[in-house]
Amino acid sequence: MGFFEMTKTALKTVLSRPVTILYPYQPAKKTSLTRGHVVQDGSKCISCSICVKKCPSQAILLNKEAKTWQIDRFRCVVCNSCVDTCPTRCLSMDTQYTAPASVQGVEVFTITYVKPPKPEKKEETKE
């Protein structure tokens, strides 16, 4: 009898508790690996620009003069590439996703990193 194959499942489900996660009243599903958004630790950034180059969607802008590192969350594909490649590990991936917004904007981090006095290397980093 091929009729009502689904009946058993349907009746079972109706009697058991719904699997729904009552977000936002319950917290969202998340794991430690979840890629939410990139955060930068301005105190460690050496302005090397590697992240800018390695970002596949060109979401990062580094302004060496103004000492800012800015990220456009509406461009970032949360791929982790920058985090992986940053030589100083000043970038990290937070598990919280970026909140929706009505206007787009960039998030600006100030680079507070002060180069430890190592006189010889000075000129090259600028390039």
Binding site: T20, I21, L22, Y23, K29, R75, C76, A101, S102, Q104
Partner: protein, 155 residues
């Protein structure tokens, strides 16, 4: 008392997304997320919808479609751009056939970032849109009260 916020019906259009965001929109309808809890129904028909969910960016061929779909929605209505493709064109921003975000064609009220945008994020985005929807309704009623303005100029 407004019912608008309690019964937002959506219509979804896939601009030129990679599917990632689409399936997350669909996933939001399914048991784990169940957006029907908020009265959200995926109508599939712009004429029944209050919220226009767009995933993906606009390109040469679909910008008309996006616009038509938007135009066929009765006021008040809001647009939620899902994923960074819909916001800016995302990773495909520089492709020759990508014009950019949805806002190139129709006014967008909420951008939901992410690639792909997570279902929770989409829920947040829709909830945020409800406030705007309500504001638009008020504006619409005032408009209608004040002067018989030609409809459809909410933009």
């Amino acid at each position: 008392m407004t019912y608008l916020a309690k019964s937002p019906w959506i219509v979804h259009y896939d601009g030129s997304s990679c599917n990632g965001c689409d399936i997350e929109v669909l996933a939001a309808l399914t048991p784990i997320y169940d957006v029907e809890r908020f009265g959200i129904v995926n109508t599939g028909n712009p004429k029944h919808a209050d919220i226009f969910l767009v995933t993906g960016s606009v390109n040469e061929k679909n910008r008309e479609i996006v616009k038509n779909t938007y135009d066929q929605m009765p006021e008040p209505k809001v647009v939620v751009a899902i994923g960074i493709c819909a916001a800016t064109g995302g990773i495909f921003r520089e492709c020759y056939n990508v014009m950019g975000g949805i806002d190139k064609v129709i006014p967008v009220d909420v951008y939901v970032p992410g690639c792909a945008a997570r279902p929770e994020s989409i829920i947040d985005g829709v909830v945020q849109a409800l406030g705007i929807l309500e504001a638009k309704r008020k504006a619409m009623n005032e408009n209608a009260g004040a002067a018989a303005k030609p409809a459809g100029d909410a933009r």
